[in-house]
Symmetry: C2
Subunit: 399 residues, 2 copies
């Protein structure tokens, strides 16, 4: 039997595809600092496990396809506090932000349709598009311009009759960029002009440093077009819970996707119980976590600025940054760091940058770093990258 | 914005689409016996919650995309005990059997490709095919012939150049039929002749009454073609855990689907911990549950045989049966039972049969019953259907 072209075409995740090299490095006794994946080391609020431990039903039964009422209510309240009011039947619980993205894409795109993204973008979007037969088109944003959106004409130039949606991550992954109000207005104008879906991935909403975050969800006039992708993975450091959500005011979208949700039956029961409890965490938790990431961001920037030939754009949100390194290939360098290099038995894993771009040739000397480690580990990890750059045979000589 | 054609075309699940009527009936104070959904009332083995309660990591972190090692090892051993040996990298943990089906289909079919099924079939297959742009083609099996497979020529006649897979449920859902060895050989010949994928959904493997079950996984010569869909939902009465698995010896398939699995990151951590513990349940549990369902099957048959004009084929496995009723429309009757009828404040929900057929016009007077209630409730539920049939305005007169 042959596998499908669609699955052959799925791009290997730049975030995870080097995991076998990391496993081998660990098996060889090396300590590996993981800057490749957005897996925070922050403690999950204890309410998660406490609520689950209190669960005592004798049958672990199917739940509602939309989601458990307690969790739906908790998410409704969370959004209300952000100034966004959704009815319960405008919220759908999903198996992580991943399933939310898959369902959003299938809900608005037929095979051959197009989704516009701004590159560099979260690489896994492409995999979901691949399996659905949807084509991604990228508008390039540039490191040297701080990843600001290009003008409206450049965005319009990428719209075709097959374009069905704009998919945008804000705060940005992998760039850490937060959209300005002007940029949000630009996106909203294009969306409304062509009556597109606007799929916004705002899972890093709570991670904006030094200024308030504005959601697309509070912009007037987008009610018919907006689909919000959410996840509690990062918000409450509960990545392994795999609980996300889709929110939209578009009644037709909500009704149609529910048929698919019913076919996949429901989301896991215990994780939903824990997730509902997480939303009762005092808001101070999120403020404290925000402070911690801001410190890490500052630590990262200070450490990176000491590395000769490495450039980066200051991240304003999320917990990622893209860096440009003086190497022949960031992927080769990443593999070399895991296979060939160590500093006192320690090395670093990061995500090669080209996987975050659609345009061939872009990002080959870039890497995404996730600043999800504590400040001391972060400093050490960046110093190891610096040592690696000095020793790497494929490094370019810095004048 | 417009929703996609693919999502518009998704068939509403016959198992869940009448849920709003059931909710209204309950809100009006009626007791509803649920024969519509395969939600067993059997206790989940306590090991599930015990293992989860013992979990004490401070961070609920992403797990491995293939699945947690403990669960993979447990499933490997379970299959070994069934005479099927899979390497760990030939097993992939999924979000229920549902995700296993979705991934199996995307792994072997491109948009426009075809999958052959035998109708009546598990209705949700169609939803997954719909969203992937895959076309289902059905070979009809007939109630009056006990849902036996038609001859090889009839199966061959449905194969086209776009056919990429045969998808078969054994034991059958919704029919409760278990394939004979001759039928399995027939299917294997067709699969090998055209080098198709053979996707076998054997989630009811433990529920065969009075004779041993033979898996496609022990048939020689299918190594390259076989994809086994599994789930612990029914096996351990843990439907809400949403833990399934995909198993295949085809190395290319396994490697390609892992890219998608990495994009969706991982399955829920706590449910995997509970699932691994379930596999340590003494085998006597499964034997006891088998005995219980056999009693229910016998109770169901006895109760159904008392209903004038109702015909059915004796189920040999799983916990479903299709019945034929003397009504104008099983769906109208189902809605009427929930909206208009009660017997001493009680009524019954079942799944209309046409949703389990692809061929228009088939199954309109049929229903799928899930015998997942205890014998007393089951007897009462069938008696209520009998009372309903006497009172239903759309009932046909039985001579």
């Amino acid at each position: 039997m042959n596998v499908s072209e669609r699955i052959s075409n799925v791009f290997a995740s730049p975030i995870r595809k080097l995991s076998p090299y990391a496993a081998a490095a660990k098996a060889a006794g090396k300590k590996v600092y993981h800057l490749n994946i957005g897996q925070p080391d922050i403690q999950t609020p204890p309410a998660f496990l406490e609520a689950i431990r209190a669960f005592d039903d004798s049958v672990i039964a199917y739940g509602d396809s939309r989601g458990d009422a307690r969790l739906l209510n908790a998410i409704q309240k969370y959004y209300h506090d952000w100034g966004m009011d959704f009815d319960i039947n405008e919220i759908t619980i999903t198996a992580g932000g991943s399933e939310a993205l898959l369902i959003a894409m299938m809900g608005v795109c037929d095979p051959g349709d197009e989704i516009l993204v701004f590159e560099p973008f979260y690489a896994n979007y492409l995999s979901f598009a691949n399996v659905l037969g949807v084509n991604m088109k990228a508008v390039t944003t540039k490191a040297e311009k701080g990843y600001e959106l290009p003008g409206e004409a450049a965005v319009e130039a990428c719209i075709t009759p097959r374009t069905k949606a704009i998919l945008i991550t804000n705060p940005g992954n992998p760039t850490g960029r937060v959209l300005t109000s002007d940029e949000m207005e630009l996106v909203a104008r294009v969306v409304k002009r062509h009556d597109l879906a606007l799929i916004v991935d705002e899972v890093y909403r709570e991670f904006v440093y030094g200024f308030p975050f504005r959601s697309f969800g509070v912009m007037p006039g987008l009610e018919d077009n907006l689909i919000v992708v959410d996840s509690l993975s990062k918000r409450y450091s509960a990545c392994g819970a795999r609980i996300g959500a889709l929110l939209s005011h578009n009644a037709d979208f909500n009704e149609q996707i529910m048929k698919y949700c019913q076919a996949r039956l429901c989301c896991p029961e215990l994780e939903q119980i824990g997730a509902a409890a997480l939303y009762s965490t005092p808001r101070q938790y999120l403020a404290d976590v925000n402070d911690e990431y801001r410190r890490r961001r500052d630590t990262l920037e200070k450490a990176l600025s000491k590395l000769p030939g490495v450039t980066f754009s200051s991240p304003q949100g999320a917990f990622y940054t893209m860096i440009k390194m003086p190497v022949d290939s960031a992927e080769k360098f990443a593999i070399w760091m895991l296979e060939q290099f160590d500093s006192h038995g320690e090395t670093v894993m990061f995500a090669p940058g080209d996987g975050f771009y659609l345009t061939p040739g872009l990002g080959t000397d870039e890497a995404r770093l996730a600043y999800v480690l504590n400040c001391a580990d972060l400093e050490r990890a960046i110093a190891i990258i610096g040592e690696g750059l000095k020793a790497y045979p494929g490094a370019k000589i810095i004048a």
